[in-house]
Symmetry: C2
Subunit: 270 residues, 2 copies
């Protein structure tokens, strides 16, 4: 990565981290200050685990999992180690999501509210199921050593597309969930009277969209990709003695040769 490129990456990464962190603070303040707090009692305080776990796990952790290969200081780690971190973060996000769904069902059952009637619940459940499929296929394809390299290559565009699509879907489903909760949870003043809680949680929704936008931007810049293993190996044998500050830029100048889309291809077209 050239210096300017690295700087832009760090700005985008810091922004994503900051916005994600503020979103977590917002969801915690929502349930602890405006609502009934957190508990596991079948009541509203149990339901509150639902938004907290979705924002911290299914959105924030999944977002980090998606861009973990992009962090330049991990490029000295082996690809296998990074795959385990990627799979581990996604598995953690999945567990958060499952507990979040259980909290919502528990609350519904105790309060005798029907389950699975809303578009939020339909799309949410579909997303969790497809996410588990993505996890299983991802482990099967990229962590089981016997999977042929040709299968791995053929499946990679689908893995990337599905990952980004599911991440986006989780945020869209969360926005519908926020809408439902603000309508059902606010009365006297109602949602339409814009009490402080309504404004506060609307801002949480905007933060989630901005976090999603930043993660998708980082994930789709080809010049921020981890250099391929061949290049890293070549560097390890030639440049072992150099210090890290020199390895960084050198790595990326080589790496930029491997991705054509960012520059050449676009320029040729317009």
């Amino acid at each position: 990565m050239a210096m300017e490129n690295l700087k832009q990456f760090l700005v985008a990464l810091s922004a994503a981290g900051a916005v994600g962190f503020v979103a977590i603070i917002f969801v915690l303040r929502w349930v602890l200050h405006f609502k009934e707090g957190l508990a596991w009692d079948g009541g509203l305080a149990e339901f509150n685990w639902h938004p907290v776990l979705i924002v911290t796990g299914f959105i924030f952790l999944q977002g980090i999992a998606i861009i973990v290969y992009r962090l330049p200081w991990t490029w000295q780690c082996s690809k296998l180690m990074m795959k385990f971190i990627h799979a581990g973060l996604n598995s953690a996000a999945f567990i958060f999501a499952v507990v979040a769904v259980v909290a919502a069902f528990d609350f519904h059952n105790t309060a005798k509210i029907p389950n699975m009637y809303s578009l939020h619940s339909w799309l949410g459940l579909i997303t969790v199921i497809l996410y588990s499929l993505q996890l299983v296929l991802g482990v099967g394809m990229y962590l089981i050593p016997v999977t042929p390299v040709s299968w791995r290559a053929a499946f990679m565009p689908i893995h990337i597309y599905s990952g980004l699509f599911l991440f986006t879907s989780v945020i869209a489903v969360a926005l519908m969930g926020i809408t439902e909760k603000l309508i059902f949870g606010l009365s006297n003043p109602k949602y339409k009277d814009s009490p402080p809680e309504a404004i506060f949680v609307n801002i949480l929704g905007v933060l989630l969209v901005v976090f999603g936008a930043l993660i998708l931007w980082i994930a789709t810049r080809t010049s921020w990709k981890r250099p391929s293993d061949q290049i890293l190996h070549a560097l390890h044998s030639n440049g072992e003695s150099e210090d890290n500050s020199k390895v960084g830029p050198a790595l990326s100048e080589l790496a930029e040769g491997t991705d054509a889309e960012a520059g050449g291809d676009v320029r040729r077209r317009f």
Copy 2:
């Protein structure tokens, strides 16, 4: 495009067209059969223009606008002509969206319901404003002849990212709108009692997500891209006498040389 590749493209395109068409039928049946029909009277029948115009214009037309460069039978048209079609479809989508927003505000004002209190309205208005900015910047960059080629190239990744992001956002905002309308519009039986309208409109929501997924898939496959003008020119001078069935595959073999991401790059990484 190789034959197999072309076939896959046509399957994806037909699926997107069919799902988009069914979604339009669904939104029409929703307002005409289940709700108050269509009128411009400040009442609920005026509000009904809101979902109809969003689905037909801001979602379906915008989706077509995004993938219009991908249609192989347009590759014989000049790039400039295709840019006008792309800009024209996006402008039409924008007009649909503006009229849709006016219908919602009109209804609110007549019924004395506050405007702009919900997350749906916040994100919806932000999306319409950013979409108008995208239109103005797109025309300024790519249709005004004096804009330097270096600017066009530098802005292209942002134009593509913003276009796909805005399209996705419109669908997410529509899902929130559906959620609001089903909660506010259904009473006795309520949304949670799952009357036929609730199930029907939930399915509309799922169709919109599938339509979005298909458009995003088509738009992000590099091997389905329109070949660059140089290649088309080369072909025009060399292969003028060949019939179309031969031009098709020849074009794409050349074109595939220009996009590295689809094959080579991924294979080298895994």
